[in-house]
């Protein structure tokens, strides 16, 4: 579903010498991956790369069994982007359209029927408690409401890959719970999700694997990954299951 091989990602030089880390991971269909790490660890860069917003200079990336590496074609990029829902930290909207129209945009672009668009939009507006803002313009919304609208827009077309950046998971507990329950529902239908956050939520109901960033190969002088350098976050490799997440 999602395969990254030696993908170079930027990271803070205080975390990774040289400022570039090589990330490899493999995520199957229907799985959820929590991407954690301190600021500048490369979480957003990883999400942006998978969302095809950031060019892949080296390494290899496969999304939905399509090559999305450095030689990705424009057509493949567009097709893949239509199947990826990315909830950014600062979502962009079309300011002259109402919230409802913004949320309906992915369906309208896919030439869905008007009845389907109306039904799906009303349903998701209700789910994210945005009915009162349906006719408002994005510029008039609070940050939380904008994130709700961004979640609704990203999920309305039931994407195959969902990417969630930190603010949507940390700004409002209610929004996070709504979002996680929606993602759980989508995951049962085969949606793969990557959720980026600095610290994992405390809820015991969290499911999924954990990827700690930054990742890089340990240097020959410091081969023991369990011993972190002074003042530097310890790089950890991908773990398939974190005990803290088990019920």
């Amino acid at each position: 579903m999602i395969t990254l091989e030696m993908l170079p990602l930027p990271a803070g030089t205080s975390l990774v010498p040289g400022g570039v880390q090589l990330v490899s991971l493999q995520l199957e269909r229907g799985k959820t991956l929590w991407v954690t790490g301190p600021a500048e660890a490369g979480k957003t860069a990883l999400l942006e790369t998978i969302a095809l917003r950031r060019p892949v200079a080296d390494g290899a990336m496969t999304l939905l069994n399509q090559d999305a590496g450095p030689r990705i074609t424009c057509r493949t990029r567009k097709l893949l982007q239509q199947r990826i829902g990315y909830i950014e930290a600062a979502p962009l909207f079309m300011d002259r359209l109402t919230v409802a129209d913004n949320i309906a945009l992915p369906l309208e672009m896919n030439h869905a029927s008007k009845a389907d668009i109306r039904r799906e939009t009303e349903s998701i507006l209700q789910w994210f408690a945005l009915e009162d803002h349906a006719r408002s313009y994005p510029a008039t919304l609070s940050q939380t409401a904008r994130l709700r609208a961004a979640c609704a827009r990203a999920l309305i077309a039931q994407p195959s890959i969902v990417l969630v950046d930190e603010p949507a998971l940390t700004l409002c507990a209610g929004l996070r719970n709504h979002l996680l329950s929606t993602i759980r529902g989508l995951a049962r239908n085969g949606t793969t999700a990557l959720l980026a956050t600095q610290t994992l939520p405390e809820e015991a109901s969290l499911e999924g694997d954990i990827l700690n960033l930054p990742q890089h190969k340990p240097s020959p002088e410091n081969t023991d990954p369990s011993v972190p350098e002074e003042g530097v976050a310890a790089p950890r490799i991908l773990v398939t299951k974190d005990e803290r997440l088990l019920p």
Partner: protein, 293 residues
């Protein structure tokens, strides 16, 4: 796509509209200038006195045999000069304007438009009537020719300068407007790209709007040009020696001194501006789509 059409930002189109209106108006005036100058110069040339006058001594009321002989000789030798024996009434009027009323018998006056050597004419006339006086035309043309040439040259230079200025300023204005539109819609473009949608539909919408604005600006300029030319023509009517105006509009509209091809160019101008605006906006937006930063 309805929502995309609503989503597109619309920066104020007044600067472009007024700019193109003013430019097309100025361009039209500049192109009309050489035609107007040519027309005026032509009129002045027509009005120049190029008539040679041959005066025969007074012999009585009836034309003498010498007069008839001279008339036949002039017609046979210079048929294009249209030699004319002036009637007594005209002769009296001419003489009255020269001096006090003529008391004696009127002389015979021939007029002809002769541009050849005066010696040839003098020899011919004196062979028939040795006492005839030949009055050559005043040397107006020799004095006016450099002025007219300078006027023609200046008008051509002004038209050329205006044409070049328009060729530079109009694309620059269109580019600025296209860039403004593209920047105003950068967010819309980014949203579409992030959703994996083609942005060409948005580009087409923006380009169509720009074309409409450019067309309206050009059209307004040409519409303004008509009354301006009429006003200028009316003001310069005495100078151009045009017929007097009657009614609300001048009897000689500006069409009379502008060739049809120029009017065709004026009519084409709004369409050309619209086409240039469409292409410019599409290219600028597409370039911004390729390099979003």
């Amino acid at each position: 796509m309805t929502s995309l059409s609503r989503a597109a930002e619309r920066p104020s189109s007044w600067p472009l509209l007024l700019g193109l209106c003013l430019l097309s108006w100025l361009f039209g005036l500049a192109l009309s200038l050489p035609c107007g100058v040519e027309r005026a110069v032509h009129h002045w040339e027509e009005q120049l006195n190029d008539q040679v006058v041959i005066a025969l001594p007074a012999t009585g009321n009836e034309p003498s045999g010498q007069t008839n002989k001279l008339s036949q000789a002039l017609t046979a030798t210079f048929p294009k000069a249209h030699p004319t024996l002036l009637p007594d009434r005209d002769v009296a009027r001419i003489l009255a304007s020269w001096s006090t009323p003529w008391e004696g018998p009127l002389p015979r006056l021939f007029t002809l438009s002769y541009h050849g050597e005066m010696n040839t004419l003098t020899t011919l006339v004196h062979n028939i009537t040795p006492e005839a006086i030949i009055v050559p035309p005043p040397p107006q043309m020799a004095k006016l020719a450099p002025l007219m040439a300078a006027l023609r040259k200046a008008a051509s230079h002004v038209a050329l300068a205006a044409g070049l200025a328009a060729a530079l300023v109009v694309p620059a204005l269109l580019y600025l407007a296209a860039r403004t539109i593209a920047l105003a819609n950068r967010q819309q473009q980014a949203v579409l790209l992030s959703l994996g949608k083609a942005v060409t539909t948005l580009h087409h919408i923006l380009a169509r709007r720009m074309a409409l604005t450019a067309f309206l600006g050009g059209l307004a300029g040409i519409i303004l040009l008509l009354p301006s030319l009429m006003l200028i023509t009316s003001a310069l009517r005495p100078l151009l020696r045009l017929p007097a105006t009657t009614g609300l509009f001048p009897t000689v509209p500006p069409q009379s001194f502008l060739p049809p091809m120029l009017w065709g160019t004026f009519c084409l101008m709004p369409f050309l501006m619209a086409l240039a605006g469409w292409g410019m906006t599409y290219l600028v937006c597409a370039r911004q789509g390729r390099h979003p930063s």
